[in-house]
Symmetry: D2
Subunit: 398 residues, 4 copies
């Protein structure tokens, strides 16, 4: 950028669907010396994290903390309840269910995959057919991605629970809330979820590097029957450690724990219901702009039905395929980094807006204003009044 | 905010006309142990700061660094060249010239004040009259505020220099660039400025606490004739110290110096001409929006002539006087803090946008988007298409 | 501590054998916004880390980076080369070989364990016997802990290599350098190590949370024959990713990567040979004090033969069993936290000094001075002149 | 240092008598965005700082906060109560009284200076003579340096107060507590001090850049009679501001205020009596070592009478003049930076230990251990057992 004029020389805004914007309080909390890992405040800290993570997830059961990213928690969760040769059902809306399913195959599971494409949420009838067909209860778990970050589809977890219950199918309901926890409403116990995985770098507002596996008694019963679980992935000592190091099977991720403490403090100070309401309100402002842009015929929202859209990420498509120049203009001329298209056949034309976690009204206007500017720079046809429509939505007092 | 829904729970944006948004690199540089103040790297650092500050100011002469805010540099500069009983001429556009003039009175000077109101830049004819009337050369200095942060007026320093030259008046030309340095074009030597004062927390992107007095040989000649200059304000040892502590008349402002080093590195990596061009381009985008809002009849730009407007701050007025609720909505519901009206008779209706220093396109859209939202929330009449007009301006590749 | 007089109210010194003291440059580098994980500087950064990690390890082969602690790298490494039912040989000096061996059992391996106690390094004859007895080459790998953090024993890796070579045994030589890398001399390729694991929070001076598995072509050949390797642990895509996210099987540990970059810069600016020499010199100063204290009959160094002692950690024993009060006095009255005894039968009487990573002469004197003070407070008999002996060693210009 | 072996490559310890070691909590608090300076939390913060600064100083009267170093507070304090032509009495033990006296001359005062050399505290008889001789009450203030940082002399302020009272002399008693506040006991109101100046970078543990002037009603009465006080130095609006900016005569030193808040929280959590007791105990440990070193005949404590020694700084002298090589060895080989000799005729042989503020037992041992090591390296004769003597002192439970 040196010796070139750019309008990007200011505070950078990373508006991708994870990692999200890290709060100052979190970064401050991590800027500290290493603590003792055998004695003292760290030992007292970890149980408070478990307690407050469970409040965010809406569960009274267990949470194991892993030094791992979201993919790691996929493998961790599966390793505790799925033995080689067992079957999982994977209803896929977007690409991440594929990823989780491949993880399952990697540990020797058989995968029955239902593909609902990149723009539709689950077809409950087809899932029902698959469950119904499994009279022998070969399916040990259903891998349910709550929000798919690539497509911005949000699936209906309670409906899936009802379906399993109606059919008296004993499969574990395993949810991936990596993109949704702390953004979209999720209530583990009330919704009957048996295992839930998530990671810290999105709605939990902590730099990437720590992941979580929540599980209930039904899941633990399946764990108890497993022929073998690798030591590192075993969730048992992590939730009931005899000595502190077992929480993490070795050295604790010290600085992340302090950052997470600060993030959880923010979430519970705001109140999880308020966090969800904020994300919904901000998402509606974003959609209001997108719908108007879409009138120009060159931009589409990937998920047409708002009821199936995440409040944390919005996937968009430029029909002329110019997603990359749009993102480049935004980043290089404005200081706004948008998410790339992921998993779409026409991914070059796609881009994504992340609006998860530490996110407020002025950030929404920066993001949308940046997109408007970049579309103007590229002469992309679009409806007029999009930004004002977003502003009008934000103007409604929540 | 606890237990109430708000859309402000994200990254806060302080969009006031100083302090400006601090770059991460600056804050990182300041997060460090204290250095030795008698030996080592700090001793080598300070001359590089002086060198690079002078490059920003466009001067080959001298700069004295003070642990002080901008007001402190007013007193420091005056104390070196104006003795009790001497006269200064103070042409005032906005309130800060009044502040400087009171400082002059505080050290015993006589002040001849010309008031050009809160919305107009200098009337050069009236200044010429005042200079012409001073045949006896009682006026020892003209206090010239380059950009007035309260009114967003930018005055024409080269024209003032020309006027003094034309009339062969020996008064020092003393410029206040607190709000303009590193934002609006300023060239000390080329423009014939004898003394210039500024501070670190605006275009220089460093947390408030350090100020600067630049001066040339003519100013030093006046200094040499002074009957007495207080030790702390004396600029002589600060520019030619025999021992290091004299740079600061005592302990150095250690952490600020590291922060300033990082800020100067950013400015010179971008290039000062590019910095000015960026501020101009961003300002024009802001004005484009304001002009459209103004069509609704309820909002006015304080300075009507764009040629006299700062590129670093824009003062606005709501004719219905609702500046305070506008700012409150913006801060509490959106996370965007706007500047208060300052010095205006109808200050309750006024507010200001700061766009100085570490400032890019997405920040402009956040700021304008926030104002649009707040006006929508308050049902303030405004022209439509303001945000799109700003975006269209930003879309032009600089 | 409130409202009680304590001499601990100053900068805390965590002198345990990991995590070590984090350099300011590392913490500063981590205090930053999240970067884009699909494009930009992070993508360029990771290959430089791999390159410079390999320079620290003395290898031209491969390194896979895991979001994991050291225990995680144990499982990761084993998962790539040991199939269920295969055998590993584990010669144990101290407790960590036991930990690694249990990890091996956790993935289904058979373990042949040789126990050399808590105070002696490997008995090469007994290892030779075990290798010789394995004419059928059932042993697929030898788990070789270079430095055991619990006992402070350092084992002779080149001798083990020579032994395997002499007997033409094809087992992989797998080294655990968690406590030694960046402290004690280690040269992976020159020493014929096939797989090496380590983590970031000791000699690599980065907050806990990232681990590394280095491997050569022979190890990769064994990997290629594996019936199945779990996706998350698979090292192949991590060293030859087709797309960036495969480096980490998902989201990168963004902030740790910046911290690690700063740490590697420090190591290579100093020079790895100098790093090793510094650790050796500091260790000798520590031992000089310990030997004199030991003259009092109440304190023993756990490893009597200096040739088998780590330069990164020193395990000590109070024969009267008062390790805990010693550590408590040191922490609560002086601000110095010592390591607990680990794995010893008489662990209550043991304590450990960590001297790894970001470690200099004044820190050695603080640590030893704290121990001297605590022993004085507890009236523990000790030889006199220990601190002066350490100072005399440090006084020798390296 | 590159490519050379050094034992200094670890955490640096700056053991000079100011700036002191900054606590992490203070640096963390300063690593944050700029706040609004017209509204919000900063406006609420400043009165709490004034309140808690006064608790540290032992006064119920006033404190004005200046963006300035200690020298700046000298000029600020004088400017409020001493008019040109008025006289101050300056009893000098060490060099800083000279500095303050020159400041007084710089504002036009006459100075009557009493010189007690570099190693002795005030001779109260000579001061009494000077006061007695001033029957006309020409002396308007006595400039009383509590602790002189160059010499480590601590003067007896209550005795000076008693002397003035006994002689019914109305001069203001002005104390410089720059090196003592928050270290050595000081009770402004109980001791009858009228004006006190200090700065933030020593016992107040905040990066250099803010200073303080405390004053009582008697001082304010003198202020009220002043013919003119410069606006920037005027303390009146700073203690009773009508609008917030008057606290600082312009922009607030935003980040320092947050740092100071954290530092004051630490001081009051510990308790100021405990802070004093800690400094005294640590000082005695340091002196115990110095006294034994001194037995070798090559090292002297500058102040022989412990009752007149500061608990915050210790000035030492090597009779062979090798202060500089001692400090260089310590810094370059050990990572410990000692204070230079200041103001002594034989300053090359002198050095100083700072032990102020964020200071605990392990730091004392690091500092003394470093000195012992450096003396060993230079073959400086010294008594043996110095470090053990310090340890024995620290071992006594306070």
């Amino acid at each position: 950028m040196k010796n070139q004029i750019s309008l990007a020389q200011g505070r950078e805004y990373l508006a991708i669907p994870g990692p999200s914007v890290m709060p100052d309080a979190v970064l401050q909390a991590m800027h500290r010396p290493s603590p003792n890992i055998y004695d003292g405040e760290l030992i007292d800290l970890v149980p408070t994290l478990a307690r407050d993570l469970k409040r965010v997830a809406g569960t009274n059961h267990n949470v194991a903390i892993y030094i791992a990213n979201g993919h790691g928690t996929w493998e961790a969760a599966l390793s505790n309840v799925i033995a080689p040769g067992e079957t999982v059902l994977a209803p896929a809306s977007g690409i991440f269910t594929y990823g989780w399913a491949e993880m399952a195959e990697g540990i020797g599971a058989k995968v029955e995959l239902l593909d609902f494409g990149m723009s539709s949420s689950w077809d409950m009838d087809r899932i029902a057919d698959a469950i119904r067909a499994d009279a022998a209860h070969q399916i040990k778990a259903v891998l349910a991605v709550h929000v798919d970050t690539s497509s911005s589809i949000r699936n209906d977890i309670p409906a899936l629970r009802a379906l399993l219950d109606d059919m008296n199918h004993p499969a574990l309901l395993m949810a991936d809330c990596i993109a949704s926890l702390g953004c979209d409403r999720f209530e583990m116990d009330a919704w009957g979820v048996d295992v839930m995985v998530t990671a810290c770098q999105k709605g939990l507002m902590t730099p990437a590097g720590v992941g979580f596996v929540f599980f209930n008694d039904k899941a633990q019963a399946k764990r108890a029957e497993m022929p073998r679980v690798s030591q590192y992935w075993d969730w048992q000592p992590r939730v009931k450690p005899k000595v502190f190091y077992q929480y993490f099977n070795g050295t604790a991720p010290t600085h992340h724990l302090y950052g997470l403490r600060a993030a959880l403090d923010m979430i519970h100070a705001e109140g999880i219901e308020n966090v969800w309401a904020r994300h919904e309100h901000l998402a509606k402002a974003i959609w209001a702009a997108c719908e108007i842009w879409a009138e120009g015929g060159a931009l589409e929202m990937n998920v047409t039905n708002g009821a199936h859209r995440s409040h944390a990420v919005t996937a968009l498509r430029l029909t002329d395929g110019r997603g990359t120049p749009l993102r480049q203009f935004s980043e290089r001329q404005l200081g706004l980094t948008l998410g790339i298209g992921l998993g779409m056949e026409d991914h070059a034309g796609c881009f994504r807006l992340g609006h998860m976690g530490h996110m407020n009204g002025q950030m929404v206007m920066a993001m949308l204003g940046g997109v408007e500017t970049a579309m103007a720079a590229l002469n992309i046809p679009r409806g007029s009044g999009a930004l004002e429509a977003a502003a009008a939505t934000l103007a409604i007092k929540p």
